[in-house]
Amino acid sequence: MSVAPSDANLSDEQMLGFYRDMLRIRRIEERIGDDAKAGNIPGAVHLYIGQEAVGVGFCSQLTDDDWIASTHRGHGHYLAKGGDSKLLMAEIYGRETGMCKGHGGSMHVADFSKGIIGANGIVGAGISIITGAAWAAQMDGKGAVGVAFFGDGAANQGVLCEALNVAVLWKLPVIFVCENNGFSEFSPSSTVTAGNIVDRAKPYGAAHEAVDGNDLIAVHQCAARAIKHARAGNGPSLIEARTYRQRGHVEAEVSFLGSTYRSDEEVAEWIARDPIPAFAKRVLDAGQASQADLDRIEAEIAAEVAEAVQFAEGSPYPDPAMQGTNYMFA
């Protein structure tokens, strides 16, 4: 289980960096959510809001040589691993200048040069892909690791059992990070998931740990242990980061769901445990940053968001004459 949070080894600069990374995801996604509601985005968007501490806690300790596989809720992982916000925004807007030149969209943003194998529209698909990337990392022998982020819904795909089995047998440098955000699309986890997800590592003998996914420092420390374990050649870990999906499964859901699947009280309770204000309070209380520092970061991110949107809106759509064959059988 998670150890008592301790930030003794983290510098003020690192702490401020974590704050910036989480807030950057939050503000970019808030804008994406607003744009989706305004009808500016052609497809569905699934927001990571409320779960930022998990992606930042892990990705802040990975390099471009490490691999991540993400989910349909993947903007946060992409940004935390170093993905460019302009290219992300243009992709979600469906523009030629997007990270995938408008061919992928929100659910398929990827940047292989940064070790981001990509978001994925199939629940649980990243689990097998990262297992293969971790096998590649093991063969390379340079200490790189693979991290798969997936939700509690994906934990109910059989592939998790298959991946744990082979990853333990082959001692693969892989970390399976289940972000238990309380919902399997529109179904509360309790109605579709038996037992504790973290316990699913036990029969395979894989290292495992549950952590408060809204506590950046707790996640960071847990990630450090799992990454060290993997880099040292000791095999896989299964981490269950318990967090909460503040937004719906998909931004547009209020327009088509006939009823709700959670109470306003529950949402309010979790918003009160939002990872970002809690972290801001922590750095302020510890004297690791001033309110002016946080305000400056807020302003810088606001400028980045504006620039990303301007870039996306100002970019052309891809030429339909070019589609279909360009990137297939290239």
Binding site: G132, A133, V166
Partner: protein, 330 residues
């Protein structure tokens, strides 16, 4: 040239490519002992880290191929029987076939999925499918179906070099068949059909294991003065439609022989292309010799009755020419 069994040609292609390129790896079900013999001995020559037995976990296996290929390896993933691909179909249909396209060609994805396909050996319904039509329909995977040992070697080498996923399907129970194989690094470009026999009266396009009975039929028909232009496409994605169309324009008649079930078979596709592009040259309707839309049965007489053979191919050609030789009327 030297006479080799098909399985030996495949084994030598794998061995040769592994010797040349340390990034070529082979994994799958029982690849160490090798049920069919095609991967036999590779582990001893190239090391346990490059030739790895997998658990019977097709879901994670097909996805690991994607991850390892995305991370820089040339991956040969042996699925044993083609039917087992269905169990691992998400990573084939949703990941491998789409990843290059939806990420705008950011990476190469050199994967060869291997498996045997087709009937004729009482392997029964769940080990006898010809699954190439559904792979053809995915839009992002090349499909090779060698009919001779030389083509098996040349196409497999080509498949391993290819930056795209390739489905390499070997006709079940045909590994022992012998044929002349050129010495050295014999490579056959994908999408180049082979004209097995030349003739002017009717074009027969035969796919995979159907080439052999089609050739016997063509030889028998030649004795009756009927000239068959026999074409083996060798790959159905990409399909060498030019060679087929050129032949049909010359003969005016087309019979397509395919071991797939008739509905949406490769034969249907070849027929559609010819109907679209050389309708004016046709002197008679296009005929398909395929398998009825049922599962293949176990008992030899039942199975034999469903599979195309020399007699049914010959009969289709004769009927097309209005020269039914034996049995029922034209």
């Amino acid at each position: 040239m030297a006479k080799k069994r098909m399985i030996q040609a495949i084994n030598e292609a794998l061995d040769g490519e592994m010797a040349k390129d340390p990034k070529v790896v082979v994994f799958g079900e029982d690849v160490e002992i090798s049920l069919f013999g095609d991967t036999r001995g590779l582990k001893d020559k190239h090391g346990a880290h490059r030739v790895r037995n997998m658990p019977i976990s097709e879901t994670v296996m097909s996805g690991m191929a994607v991850g390892a290929a995305a991370a820089g390896y040339k991956v040969v993933c042996h699925m044993m029987f083609g039917n087992f691909m269905y169990t691992g179909f998400d990573s084939i249909a949703n990941q491998a076939s789409k990843l290059r396209y939806m990420t705008a060609g950011q990476i190469a994805l050199p994967i060869v999925y291997m498996g045997v396909f087709g009937g004729g050996r009482s392997a029964a319904a769940q080990h006898s499918d010809a699954m190439h039509p559904m792979i053809m329909n995915l839009g992002g995977i090349k499909v090779a179906l060698p009919a001779t040992p030389a083509d098996a070697m040349g196409l497999l080498r080509s498949a391993i070099h290819d930056p795209n996923p390739v489905m390499f399907l070997q006709a079940a129970g045909r590994g022992g068949e012998q044929g002349e194989v050129p010495e050295g690094d014999h490579v056959i470009e994908m999408g180049k059909a082979s004209t097995v026999q030349e003739g002017d009266d009717v074009t027969v396009v035969a796919i995979g294991a159907m080439v052999r009975p089609a050739l016997r039929a063509a030889q028998e028909l030649a004795r009756s003065g009927i000239g068959v232009d026999l074409i083996d496409p060798r790959t159905v994605v990409p399909l060498d439609s030019e060679t087929i169309l050129e032949s049909v324009r010359r003969t005016g008649r087309l019979v397509v022989v395919d071991e797939a079930r008739d509905m949406c078979s490769a034969a249907s596709h070849v027929a559609a292309i010819c109907a679209d592009q050389c309708f004016d040259a046709l002197k008679a309707p296009i005929r398909r010799v395929t398998v009825p839309d049922v599962a293949l049965p176990y008992s030899p007489p039942l199975e034999k009755a469903l599979l195309p053979n020399e007699a049914s191919i010959s009969d289709a050609v004769r009927r097309l020419l209005g020269k039914a030789a034996t049995g029922g009327g034209a």
